[in-house]
Amino acid sequence: MGPVARIQDNFARFLDSDIWYSFRTSPVTVVATVLAIVMIVAAVIAPLITPQDPFDPASLDLLDAFTAPVWTEDGQWRFPLGTDDQGRDLYSAILYGSRISIGVGFASVILSIIIGVTLGLIAGYVGGTTDAVIMRIADVQISFPALLVALLLNGVLRSVLPGSSHETLALVVIIFSIGMSIWPQFARTVRGSTMVEKSKEYVQAARVIGLSSRAIMFRHVLPNVMGPVLVIGTINLAIAVLLEATLSFLGVGVPPTEPSLGTLIRIGQDFLFSGEWWIVIFPGVFLALLVLSVNLLGDWLRDALNPKLR
């Protein structure tokens, strides 16, 4: 079978599968998925579909500040959703901001998957004291809310790093803080499935032919325990985006020169009382829709891949 035919065959099998059926028949999931994809694509191609680069001070004109959205009396077509205090076009700022929010979200989930999956594999496969130590740390950490852990890590990192590097390293610091605060969930899941896999015959066979523990863990067991990780990963993407927004809103996240959605909301909150509601409402709604659609997608994925619920 040629590669094209194989792809066609796989695609046909996919269209015939339970998962596709369950997806097709759940209108909420379809809408949420479309919404999530549109938002993520819009964020990625933001420079192509926005009139302004909101991070470039040269493109901003203070005379445009506080323009209301286009459907109000003072609205202008140049700024469909209005502008903020520095004359930044909100539509552009939101798309550029969601780029940072989504980027930080993906990066921190990937970091936490790397940490969590590795530790979970080792704990489950090696067992004994190693297992006890890793899982005890995970237990203690999971009993504290991720927000608190992320805030604390953030504070410590910022005090350890020299002051001059704060702006440049802000993204690294925030990705690290969020990634380190959500890894225990992955570790727990992977440890559980690794312990199941460990006793299976293919692992014993691999051991008999003399493969090293590392090779067995990462080449043979790992692919078989990744299924649930993707489900938790989707749900945690929503959590990570929310965490980033919260940290930025609290003023310890990304710097205001390159605002994420949370930073935009933080800036906008100052103008709530002077009547410029659009500066805070539009980024807030965008963030809420993004988190909601990723959450819905994660919920559906969890149910669809869980045979117990069928």
């Binding site: 203690v140 410590v156 910022r158 919260t246 009547g275 909601l292």
Partner: protein, 327 residues
């Protein structure tokens, strides 16, 4: 039972020791405590003397022991930023945070449990769908967006409620309460609602799924077969059996209420511990940070302990299993 309690106490102590070690490491190794305490023009001799007086030249284990000794006595050092003892600062802020968190928890339970029971008993009614959709929005909407929307609606547009601070407070001995004045109650409505919203949605969904589960079990079918009224089956049998997980989760959520209070306090400029902690992070005020960490960990550990013990008391099956297992 006693063995179980002792084992749990021992675990709790271990967690506190680890957290204290983190707090100590932060205090001792993140930045130089001496440089933070003195001005630019302090001479080297004075610095060395202060270092000696603070005991920073002693062996590290001794310093750690002293740190724990001070912590147990409530001596947490002096804030770098404000220059006042940290225990005084926290004692000033504690009532505000506790009143806010407790009221939010109360709101979440009083509204969340009945809604959960309703949606569990009648999963197909349209009102249940409304409640579930609203709860999904409650979980997905970021806390600070809820707070800002409330401020915009009730504070700015309608002008009914104050948008920041605690209102007038009354000093009753050690406690500085806002719950005895009209402006205090007006001020706490929006923050408590904002803080409680997420917990409400969580409790409601938990009660609902537990109810659905319990209603399918044999003993509920048997109770119906005995001819008991719906009311007796629903509340005497079903609800009672959902309460064990609900107590556990709700108890554990009190801890996250304290964490989420940081956000709510920022939105509403509520003068609580969370706001203090946030400012400490922004200004790298290590004594306040490490004290907050230790205090929050302590609250967590105590709640975890109480929940575990309650679990043990509420669910007789656990006792049988443990003694049967020969532990």
């Amino acid at each position: 039972m006693i063995a179980f309690v002792i084992r749990r106490l021992f675990q709790a102590l271990l967690v506190m020791l680890v957290v204290a070690l983190i707090g100590f490491t932060m205090f001792r190794y993140v930045g130089d405590p001496v440089a933070q305490m003195v001005g630019q023009d302090t001479s080297l001799e004075d610095r060395a003397k202060l270092r000696q007086d603070l005991g920073l030249n002693d062996p590290v284990p001794l310093q750690f022991a002293r740190f724990i000794g001070n912590t147990v006595q409530g001596k947490f050092g002096i804030s770098y930023r404000i220059g006042r003892p940290v225990d005084e600062l926290l004692a000033d802020r504690l009532p505000a945070t506790l009143e806010l968190s407790l009221l939010a928890a109360l709101f979440a339970i009083v509204v969340g449990v009945p809604l959960g029971v309703y949606t569990g008993l009648y999963p197909r009614r349209w009102l249940s769908h409304v409640f579930l959709t609203v709860s999904l929005i409650g979980i997905s909407l970021p806390t600070f967006v809820i707070g800002i929307l409330l401020i915009l609606l009730f504070g700015v547009t309608l002008g009914w409620l104050p948008t920041f601070g605690r209102g007038e407070t009354v000093d009753i001995g050690l406690w500085d309460t806002g719950l005895l004045t009209v402006s205090g109650w007006q001020s706490i409505i929006m923050p408590a609602f904002t803080l409680g919203m997420f917990q409400l949605a969580l409790i409601m969904r938990l009660v609902r799924s537990e109810m659905l589960e319990v209603l399918r079990t044999d003993f509920v079918k048997f109770a119906r077969a005995r001819g008991l009224s719906n009311r007796a089956v629903h509340f005497g049998h079903a609800l009672k059996n959902t309460l064990v997980p609900v107590i556990t989760i709700t108890g554990l959520q009190v801890g996250s209420l304290i964490a989420f209070a940081i956000i709510t306090e920022t939105v509403f400029q509520w003068p609580g511990m969370g706001l203090l902690f946030l400012q400490a992070i922004q200004f790298v005020d290590i004594p306040v940070m490490s004290t907050y960490l230790i205090l929050v960990a302590f609250i967590f550990v105590v709640i975890n302990l109480i929940v575990d013990l309650l679990y043990y008391v509420v669910d007789p099956r656990l006792r049988v299993e443990r003694s049967g297992g020969g532990h």
